[in-house]
């Protein structure tokens, strides 16, 4: 076991997979000499060479589109996009090609690649650096969308993603890249894609979140504990395919739910989760499911940032509302 931040855990996963499988190739802007803008890939080019840890021209569609060809040829490309706000130029490649290749060729060609993307707000960056538009990706048939919240899951899920026969968009909660440390195995291990993690058991309400919001939820849980409320906390970890049975099992037990995401409210993933609960656990509900989310606004510049992201207090208030219903 060794203590790792989430960022270090991701680097370790890349290191291990590069070492174990010559088909694995990283490509992205500044990932070589610089080790990436967040230093996730630091040291990897020195270790594995420029042909396998490729500094790419600034061309997000190009990076992902090239990775499509590499994946079809049997390599396992792991492109990095610097920030989620810069993923959009690659959307045509992702939606029109990455997500469709297996289906449209009836399994003759596949696209096993992992697009690593730091996402989310809270780091006081310039414009376009705080996006959390996972719902757009989850809405796209043919993609797996993964968001770890802990170092253990980050490493295990990334190794699973690289070994997956199908494409994965791997969203990295950059706000907590270095904020959490955890003792994790130094060797290879996997965490299965598609399974939620029961963070803690509780009896009164199910709180569902993922990525950086997990930590805001955990802060809220401390206050709720102090006031005698027992929340059950579910970390989805994989947004597509979603572990609906885990959500339903928990809601059937608690009868109440709050979904937390930092993405904009309208047609955010919270809406889908509420719909799933309605379809499958309506009769277990004691109260309408609440959503705590970002707003239908452009993500603000740093001066207003703190008003955009859900806070522990907002989550606590939502829990109190569903309990008082």
């Amino acid at each position: 076991m060794a203590t790792r931040t989430l960022l270090e855990a991701i680097r370790e996963a890349l290191h291990l997979e590069l070492g174990a499988d010559e088909r694995v190739i990283l490509l992205g802007e500044d990932i070589g000499r610089e080790g990436g803008v967040f230093r996730v890939t630091e040291g990897l080019q020195a270790c594995y060479g420029r042909a396998r840890v490729m500094d790419a021209p600034i061309a997000e569609a190009g990076i992902v589109g090239m990775a499509v060809g590499m994946a079809i040829a049997g390599l396992r490309p792991v492109p990095e996009i610097q920030f989620m706000g810069f993923l959009y130029p690659a959307f045509d490649q992702i939606i029109s090609h990455v997500a469709r290749m297996r289906n449209r060729s009836r399994g003759r060609f596949t696209c096993p690649l992992v697009v690593r993307v730091p996402y989310g707000g809270g780091i006081h960056p310039p414009e376009h650096h705080s996006e959390s538009t996972e719902a757009m990706l989850v809405h796209t048939p043919g993609l797996q969308v993964v968001v770890p919240a802990t170092p253990y899951d980050a490493k295990g899920l990334l190794i699973s993603a690289i070994r997956s026969p199908d494409p994965v968009i791997f969203l990295e909660p950059k706000r907590i890249y270095r904020a959490v440390r955890q003792d994790i195995p130094e060797e290879c291990y996997t965490v299965p894609i598609g399974e939620a993690r029961l963070v803690r058991e509780g009896t009164d309400v199910t709180v569902i979140a993922w990525g950086s919001m997990m930590h805001t939820v955990l802060q809220a849980a401390e206050s709720l504990d102090a006031s005698g409320i027992s929340p059950e906390i579910l970390d989805l970890r994989t947004l597509s395919p979603m572990d609906v049975p885990a959500i339903i099992a928990s809601v059937e037990k608690t009868g109440r739910a709050v979904v937390v995401h930092e993405a904009a409210r309208t047609a955010g993933l919270g809406a889908e989760i509420v719909a799933q609960i309605n379809e499958k656990a309506l009769l277990s509900l004691e109260a309408p499911v609440e959503r705590v989310s970002g707003f239908d606004t452009v993500f603000p510049l740093p001066q207003l940032e703190k008003y955009y992201l859900p806070t522990p207090e907002m989550i606590e208030a939502a829990v109190h509302r569903v309990l008082a219903f």
Partner: protein, 361 residues
């Protein structure tokens, strides 16, 4: 040699076989009469296939189809120097090139008839499915080429696109990346003068498309796309260059789409008959016929024989494709992932249940 001698900035075009069928002996590529006869037959098959596809579309037996009449030399000659290990990554107007590289006509027809299995290429055939989003696929060729270079397997990736696609950003990203990584990739642009209705002079202010390569640090060659010898010669040079580690090339094949953009298009809205007639006189098949005739390697009898044989081949392919039963609705779900998700299984079951209710009703 062509890349060095023909300057795209000076609008210099490689031309070997004139519209009259006369061959520039100083540039004649290494193709004997038998090979030219083979290519003629292949071009004729493409022409007949194209016409059959349009006629079947009119009868409701074929989906919307992108025609290639007039561009047969581009496809027959550009694929001729390729080896099975090489890749073809094409747009929707390259049915002929895909066929030349090993995709059966039956399969191509199946695709245009609306069955995804038309894109399930036979094992060992290195051809990606048709790419409809304009200009998005050359990047895939760069990735395939990079993979070939990484594994040192000697393969070359060839990507086909039209003049219109050169306005798409992805095409430029593809050329830039290929240049930077010295990928063994050949960019083959069929400049057929129109992107649906917009003429090439309104598509780009560059006098040639070939010259765009120079900005990416590799050669660009303008070639008469209706001249099989010239297309073959410049393609052979580009493929060899890529194969020996010399990096990418761009070829602009100057040609003309004699048919409509697709079966849904009406070209009389944007071009006149005189223009079409001019290009009919430059028909790529006609000039090969003249060339072979002058050498005693073409006769009316042989032409009739060919017509009969190629028509039969096309008819057979179409019939075989039509005989393929419609796939079951479960196929929609079956190929989304290696293993279907629970949501997909649930949705598939819901569709089947709904269909059962409908059938009973």
């Amino acid at each position: 040699m062509f890349a060095d001698r023909y300057d795209p900035l000076q609008d210099e075009m490689v031309s070997i076989l004139t519209p009259d069928g006369c061959c520039d002996e100083t540039l004649r590529p290494d193709l004997d009469d038998e090979q030219i006869r083979t290519m003629y037959r292949q071009m004729l098959t493409m022409r007949l296939y194209d016409r059959k596809a349009v006629s079947m579309q009119r009868q409701g037996r074929f989906g919307t189809y992108a025609q290639m009449e007039g561009q047969e030399a581009c496809m027959a000659a550009s694929t001729y120097p390729l080896e099975p290990r090489d890749w073809i990554v094409s747009s929707y107007r390259e049915t002929g090139a895909m066929w030349m590289h090993g995709v059966p006509l039956k399969l191509l027809s199946l695709y245009w008839m609306g069955n995804e299995f038309g894109s399930h290429m036979p094992d060992g055939v290195n051809v990606l499915p048709v790419s409809i989003p304009v200009g998005s696929h050359p990047l895939h060729a760069v990735g395939l080429a990079y993979a070939g270079k990484y594994r040192q397997d000697g393969s070359v990736a060839v990507t086909y696109f039209g003049d219109g696609a050169t306005s798409e950003g992805d095409v430029h990203e593809a050329m830039n990346l290929a240049g930077v990584y010295e990928a063994p990739c050949v960019f083959f642009c069929q400049n057929n003068q129109y992107a649906i209705s917009v003429p090439v002079r309104e598509q780009t202010a560059s006098p040639t498309i070939a010259q765009k390569a120079l900005a990416y640090g590799f050669p660009g060659v303008l070639v008469d796309g209706n001249d099989i010898m010239a297309v073959y010669a410049v393609m052979q040079e580009a493929v060899e260059r890529a194969r020996r580690g010399g990096g990418p090339s761009l070829i602009e094949a100057y040609t003309y789409r004699l048919g409509a953009h697709t079966t849904a298009d009406d070209p009389t809205k944007y071009r006149d008959d005189a223009e079409v007639e001019f290009w009919r006189s430059r028909d790529p098949l006609l000039r090969v016929q003249k060339y072979l005739h002058a050498r005693g390697a073409w006769s009316e009898d042989w032409e009739h024989e060919l017509l009969e044989a190629c028509t039969g081949e096309v008819e057979q392919a179409m019939n075989d494709a039509e005989a393929v039963p419609q796939p079951p609705p479960q196929d929609m779900f079956r190929y989304m992932f290696a293993e279907p998700s629970a949501a997909l299984r649930e949705q598939e079951a819901a569709l089947l249940a709904a269909l059962q209710v409908q059938q009973k009703g």
